[in-house]
């Protein structure tokens, strides 16, 4: 089992329902492969350094996953063909940090 850090950027205009739908799908994929979310971080809506799919703002969602490489592949496959997700990045890490990163919304 590996630890992964997965961040995905969604369009800022999405309502809560859409966000929940995306999260549900990810949870489904995780359950199917016997993986789980260990930690979550909400970075809030940030201005992007460059435009992605013609939007200049994006909502950042950051999750820490315990699982194998198949899960990451499936999640990325789902996000690649979902128009609501602008961009994503997943990184394998050795340890899951205990403190919040500096990007967490302070409010």
């Amino acid at each position: 089992m590996n630890y992964y850090e997965h961040t995905y950027i969604t369009a800022p205009e999405l309502n809560n329902q859409d966000l929940d739908n995306i999260r549900k799908k990810i949870n489904e994929i995780l359950e199917k492969n016997e993986s789980k979310i260990v930690r979550e971080e909400d970075w809030g809506v940030r201005t992007l350094a460059y435009q992605i799919k013609k939007s200049s703002k994006g909502k950042y969602n950051n999750i820490y996953i315990q699982g194998n490489n198949k899960v990451i592949k499936e999640i990325e496959n789902f996000e690649r063909y979902d128009e609501r997700v602008l961009k994503f990045l997943s990184i394998r890490i050795k340890k899951i940090p205990e403190e919040n990163s500096e990007l967490v919304k302070s409010t």
């Binding site: 961009k87 990045l89 990163s101 990007l103």
Partner: protein, 93 residues
């Protein structure tokens, strides 16, 4: 071959105090990202990464910033991660 080696030595000796050599102070400066109290290099630590990027968003060479080789490699990787997530620009203004 022997002649060349001799020439080189002479050249260095003659120019040890010239303008073209780097001053000793600068060479002795140690890496700001190594050591005990060094900050952790992470793509989420944007304040740190922005120090090592030029105005046009290029990664600064280590000969200017005095970052050690290992840390420079890590630094450039993390900057590229931050760029992929649109936390930092690929191209500056």
């Amino acid at each position: 071959m022997m002649k060349r080696k001799k020439d080189k030595k002479k050249f260095n000796k003659n120019n040890s105090n010239s303008l073209f050599n780097k001053s000793n102070q600068r060479q002795n400066k140690s890496c700001p990202l190594s050591g005990k109290n060094a900050p952790e290099i992470n793509y989420k630590n944007l304040k740190l990464l922005k120090k090592y990027v030029s105005d046009t968003a290029k990664i600064l060479p280590s000969r200017i910033t005095n970052v050690s080789l290992g840390k420079q490699k890590k630094l450039s990787l993390e900057i590229k991660k931050a760029r992929a997530l649109a936390l930092m620009p690929y191209v500056g203004e």
